[in-house]
């Protein structure tokens, strides 16, 4: 099957995806971090597994998105969906995988009563800001502040 014919399936993340997500993260960031993903995925799986989505092609994880609905963060009392981590195989970018992951996650957030969804993005990462912009995300007045300790 050629790359253009690759069938990408979007489905709920499972425990068996930890290795695949670790591998994809390594492909994107160049660092092998199994402990990070074991801990992070276990955290999300015990909270709201239906919010977690992966994209799979030819048996391999080619994209993932982690997030959840929370209330009370930063004074936002209403249930709010948070997209917190995502990754798409660099070789398969431009094939709307991120969009499909987000659509599935946002559908779930809505079913959980969230009326808005938020994320934090480094504004120098134009590809990511462009991606969220294309999904209808707009800059919010809530600003991120940081102080080094």
């Amino acid at each position: 099957m050629t790359e253009s014919e690759t069938v990408v399936q979007i489905r709920q993340l499972e425990d068996t995806d930890i290795g695949g997500i670790t591998a994809l993260d390594e492909k994107i960031g160049g660092e092998y971090r199994p402990e990070v993903w074991e801990r992070r995925i276990t955290y999300y799986l015990r909270r709201d597994p239906e919010a977690l989505v992966v994209a799979e092609a030819d048996g391999k994880v080619v994209g993932f998105m982690l997030g959840e609905v929370r209330s009370g963060d930063f004074g936002l009392e209403e249930p709010t969906g948070w997209i917190e981590v995502m990754g798409v195989d660099p070789d398969l970018r431009g094939k709307a995988i991120g969009r499909r992951l987000a659509e599935r996650m946002l559908d779930h957030f809505q079913s959980q009563g969230a009326s808005s969804v938020r994320t934090l993005v480094d504004e120098t990462m134009t590809e990511i800001t462009g991606f969220f912009g294309s999904l209808g995300f707009e800059p919010a007045p809530l600003r991120s502040f940081v102080k080094n300790l």
Binding site: E14, D15, T16, I18, G19, Y32, L45, R46, D48, S111
Partner: protein
């Protein structure tokens, strides 16, 4: 989707609490330390959840497209009987697994992993409670003479050895069992719950979503410690070796495969709209999924042992080791973990008491086969009653005294010695037992 929350009538709720005090004595400790290990997670509550707004039409079988049943009385008696059997079996597994986990919970070497198992046990208790909710809320008198309270009492009275499914009648020997059980046996649970999510009996279908959410964590509570142990084993940790993990897989996978039921069956459940897959189809998917877990564990091992390898180099090395069966770059095939043959050490279903070896080899002598099994099973298990009973039954099958099917129907029988366990009083209704029986809580777990 919205979720409703309900509680059992008081005396049944209290009976479950009483059972919990006996078999899950660290429950309060879990709740007291919830925020330490599960900060911001919704606190555990003993209740039944039902998901509203699910599909209202039968999704498979003869009545596909017709309205789902709201009550057991709307079903044909045979259909209702099938459903009731599944319900009771499900309830039995939930309570049974807690009894098993409690045996070795205190032996965990890692506090976080111990708390994961403890939380999982609490959630299994809730799953059992959920099944009681279904048993007690409906009228099953068309399909059984047993009353709801009697069904509840029967299930709460079960011990390891008297549960309905084989996997829940095998004692745990070490904390490796706690973890491997989550990775392999809870995975069967995921399949069963997923299939029951489309049940033609609507209350059953509505009970599944929350149970499935919780089950996702239970699988991680098995797979993540296994991954960590593989990483440590690759660095020559003295505590848990890949051989230990392999033997635990060998112990549990055959029981997991049998939980799907006889490979020839399952068609009736599909016809009745209770499950979408026959036994063999679901079992095959499960077997493939276990293969994926095992491959993942091996990758974790190789990359920890040889951190200088890239991902693709590690994948190539794994392929080479699996195909050649030898050694390469200091790693031998024997150091990896593998999925046993699907007919290995089976006591139910098509391969019941066939003497099929770990790698699929055939044996024609019971004693030789038993010696083969002793090389592949954990020492603690081999020294136990379950294995002894299996060996005795195998000899009877081998001598022609019994068929494999007949022998399978008698297994397992893990008899308790020393009379009635004092804990069994806990299953009586609290109203009849105003004084606690002293749960004998396992303080060792509170490290």
């Amino acid at each position: 989707m919205s979720v409703t929350k309900t509680y059992l009538p008081k005396r049944f709720h209290q009976a479950v609490v009483k059972w919990q005090e006996t078999y899950l004595p660290d429950f309060d400790f879990l709740l007291d330390n919830w925020d330490k290990y599960f900060p911001q997670d919704t606190r555990f509550e003993l209740c039944a959840f039902r998901e509203m707004g699910m599909c209202s039409e039968v999704e498979c079988g003869d009545r596909k497209g017709k309205p789902k049943f709201q009550q057991a009385a709307e079903m044909e008696p045979q259909q209702g009987g099938h459903l009731l059997g599944a319900l009771k079996a499900q309830a039995s597994t939930e309570f049974g697994s807690i009894q098993q986990h409690q045996l070795t919970l205190a032996r965990a070497q890692n506090e976080e992993e111990q708390f994961w198992i403890l939380r999982m046990m609490a959630e299994e208790l809730r799953h059992g409670y959920q099944m009681f909710h279904l048993l007690l809320e409906d009228d099953w008198s068309d399909v059984t003479d047993q009353s709801g309270p009697d069904m509840v009492e029967e299930i709460l009275s079960m011990q390891t050895g008297s549960h309905i499914l084989g996997a829940f009648n095998v004692d745990f020997d070490s904390f490796i069992d706690n973890v491997t059980f989550c990775a392999l046996i809870d995975r069967v649970g995921k399949y069963q719950l997923s299939m029951q999510r489309i049940s033609a009996y609507k209350p059953m279908a509505e009970s599944m979503p929350q149970m499935l959410r919780e089950e996702a964590f239970h699988l991680a509570a098995g797979v993540v410690p296994l991954r960590r142990w593989m990483e440590k084993a690759a660095r020559d940790s003295v505590y848990i070796t890949t051989n230990d993990i392999q033997k635990a897989i060998n112990k549990w996978l055959p029981r997991g495969l049998e939980m799907f039921g006889d490979e020839r069956g399952g068609g009736t459940n599909v016809r009745y709209g209770l499950k979408p897959m026959k036994n063999a189809e679901a079992q095959e998917q499960y077997y493939q999924e276990v293969g994926k877990v095992v491959r993942d564990l091996n990758m974790r091992f190789i990359r920890a042992r040889l951190p200088e390898l890239s991902l693709s180099e590690a994948e190539s090395l794994l392929e080479k080791l699996l195909v050649d069966g030898g050694s390469s770059r200091g790693i031998s095939w024997e150091e990896l973990v593998h999925v046993p043959h699907r007919e290995f050490f089976r006591r139910r279903g098509v391969p019941a008491f066939k003497m099929v070896g770990w790698a699929g080899e055939d044996f024609d002598d019971a004693e030789a086969y038993l010696r083969h099994l002793t090389r592949h099973l954990p020492d603690g298990y081999r020294a136990g009653r379950d294995f002894r009973d299996y060996a005795q039954m195998l000899r009877r099958v081998d001598s022609g005294e019994l068929t494999g099917d007949e022998a399978g129907r008698t297994m397992p029988s893990l008899r308790r010695v020393g009379g009635v366990c004092p804990c069994s009083r806990a299953v009586r209704w609290v109203a009849e037992e105003p004084h606690g029986n002293g749960s004998g809580g396992n303080r060792e777990a509170r490290r």
